[in-house]
């Protein structure tokens, strides 16, 4: 592989490029969907994607699904030409931050490789979970299990002499349970995901998760609807994670260069207060056990944790090499792409809000009348975050009160993030998907329970 990729970048340089890189990704994946105990689909697949990026004043980019030398060299030729033509039409040439070349091979760690597990064994696990959920109560009318696993073999080669191979596993199970009693319908959603192999399905105990989800769904049938209006609100770790992810996306230099875009709120705000002092936000693609893990980003830069926001102040954006040059910053391994067909751009991986030393009890003790929201059913993120939660509880005089059905809430990042009063000392993470075209970035958000002085909620 290395020789072929090196010949491709060498050819780009011979043509006159300032820089070139080639990315190849071979993805082995399995998806299984079981609805109400019946198999809806099973899709085992192997996908090969590759791309060539050439810098000559501006970027030329071509993607292909073959890595034969002939195809690669032909693509280099075309890519160089498009860069050259494009460069004539831009006011300012694209420059990239210099980095030291790296040679490395990152192999699968101590995991149970999902490629070695027969599909019937994976299906048996899901069938058992499905059966367990449906056997909880006759009012469970629908169960929907979406399982997927993948192993990505990634290759990166640059004209500066970097050559990196990295293998990344990912396993995910998304569970939807619906209960019905008369006209009342209740839905809950569970997610298990990590950059891990099949062992995740043991340690995350999907059987137990299924049973609990089914129990919660049935319990919520008789719960009251939450009130509408502005209340002191405490959100659980998953909802904090959603807010962390949305805020994290706004710290991308890519969006900061597009102030008019939905995620461009933090444009020009470096060194300024962008949220409450209670919030310190980190993006960490290197932490074991998280839904997203990589050692090197899509530009071959070693990944490291970055504190984008410290005590409410925007300290840095996350960068690609191009944006790092523009902002005179360092690229620290946060360029991502759904696969090798897409151009890399700086996107958060695991956006984490830092915990404090307050216990949950201490967090809610001064709330006289408020709402505690748990679980994310669905959400849209951006400058305005809209989220439908799974369930809620009243908080009365610092104590958790009666359960409530899920509520919707709206967070206006430009105002409500200043309303965060405090965060607790616990931690959990919400695995999510960030969709682009028909592909997605696995991402996650995490953090502690978080308290808003006031938030607008609707029943």
């Amino acid at each position: 592989m290395k020789d072929v990729l090196e010949r491709a970048v060498d050819k780009a340089m011979e043509l006159g490029a300032e820089y070139a890189d080639v990315r190849v990704q071979r993805t082995y994946s399995n998806t299984i969907r079981i609805v109400n105990g019946r198999v809806e689909r099973t899709i085992p697949s192997v996908e090969l994607t590759a791309s060539i990026r050439v810098l000559k004043g501006t970027w030329g980019f071509s993607s292909l699904t073959s890595i034969s030398e002939t195809d690669l060299l032909e693509a280099v030729d075309k890519t160089f030409k498009t860069a050259k033509v494009g460069a004539e039409r831009i006011p300012e040439p694209v420059k990239i931050k210099e980095v030291k070349p790296v040679e490395d091979k990152v192999r699968l760690g101590d995991i149970q490789d999902p490629r070695e597990i027969p599909i019937e064994e994976k299906m048996e696990i899901i069938f058992e979970c499905d059966k367990a959920a449906r056997s909880i109560d006759a009012r469970i009318v629908r169960t929907d299990y979406n399982y997927s696993d993948s192993v990505k073999e990634k290759y990166f080669c640059s004209s500066e002499g970097s050559y990196i191979e990295e293998i990344i596993p990912f396993t995910e199970l998304r569970i939807v349970v619906v209960a019905r009693e008369g006209k009342v319908i209740q839905q809950t959603i569970g997610r298990i995901a990590a950059s891990a192999g099949q062992e995740l399905m043991a340690y995350a105990d999907p059987l137990e998760v299924s049973e609990r989800l089914a129990q919660d769904t049935v319990k919520l049938l008789s719960a009251k609807s939450p009130p509408s209006g502005r209340y002191p609100v405490v959100v659980d770790n998953g909802i904090t994670g959603l807010i962390a992810l949305s805020t994290g996306l706004m710290t991308s230099a890519y969006f900061a260069l597009m102030p008019e875009s939905e995620l461009g709120s933090f444009a020009g705000k470096l060194g300024q207060k962008v949220c409450s002092e209670a919030i310190t936000l980190t993006d960490d693609p290197t932490s074991a056990g998280m839904p997203v893990i990589f050692h090197y980003d899509e530009e071959g830069i070693a990944a490291e944790p970055v504190n984008m926001i410290e005590s409410g102040v925007l300290k840095t954006y996350i960068h690609s090499r191009e944006t790092a040059y523009k902002f005179n910053a360092e690229p620290r391994g946060h360029s991502r792409a759904p696969n090798a067909l897409f151009q890399p751009k700086p996107i958060v991986s695991n956006a984490i809000i830092k915990s404090s030393d307050l216990s949950f009890e201490e967090l809610i003790e001064d709330v006289k009348e408020g709402i505690y929201l748990r679980g994310v059913v669905g959400a849209t993120i951006g400058r305005i975050i809209q989220c439908t939660t799974m369930m809620g509880y009243r908080i009365v005089n610092g104590e958790i009160g009666e359960p409530l059905k899920g509520a919707t809430f709206i967070v206006d990042a430009s105002k409500d993030l200043f309303n965060v009063d405090a965060v607790a000392n616990d931690f959990d993470v919400l695995p999510l998907r960030l969709i682009e075209g028909d592909k997605f970035y696995p991402v996650s958000g995490g953090g502690p329970h978080m308290k808003f002085k006031e938030l607008k909620i609707g029943g």
Binding site: I125, E128, E199, M201, D205, L207
Partner: protein, 125 residues
């Protein structure tokens, strides 16, 4: 009864990588054991008491840590995995090598323990 137990245990022993399965009653007496090969049987030196004591120690451990009921004990060696699960008056022990699908192993150990408790629970006491 042994044949009936064997038919239930087959759900577990048929799993790739499982080398030994032992069924105990709540007193820790071996009611049934199965080993994939004679070599596995010769290597196996655990008594019913060893298995029950390990489960009980962990039960106490969880309690002292502030937890509730212990569901199972999972021990991971470099090359092997041991699982002990109790359901009612039945304790099931499985010993596997690393080729076994751990997620499925846990599901089947639980299923076998529950099925044995359901069918023979009273008789095993």
């Amino acid at each position: 009864m042994v044949e009936d137990i064997a038919s239930v245990v087959r759900d577990l022993s048929s799993l790739y990588g499982v080398n030994s399965v032992v069924v105990l009653n709540s007193e820790g007496e071996k009611i049934y054991s199965w080993h994939r090969t004679e070599a596995d049987q010769r290597r196996f030196q655990l008594s019913g008491k060893d298995i029950k004591d390990t489960f009980d120690i962990n039960k106490e451990f969880i309690r002292l840590a502030g937890g509730d009921q212990l569901r199972n004990v999972i021990l991971r060696g470099r090359e092997n995995i041991a699982v002990i699960e109790q359901s009612g008056s039945v304790i099931v022990f499985a010993f596997t090598d690393m080729r076994a699908n751990l997620a499925l192993l846990l599901i089947r150990v639980r299923r076998v323990a529950e099925n044995l408790a359901k069918r023979f629970g009273g008789a095993l006491i």
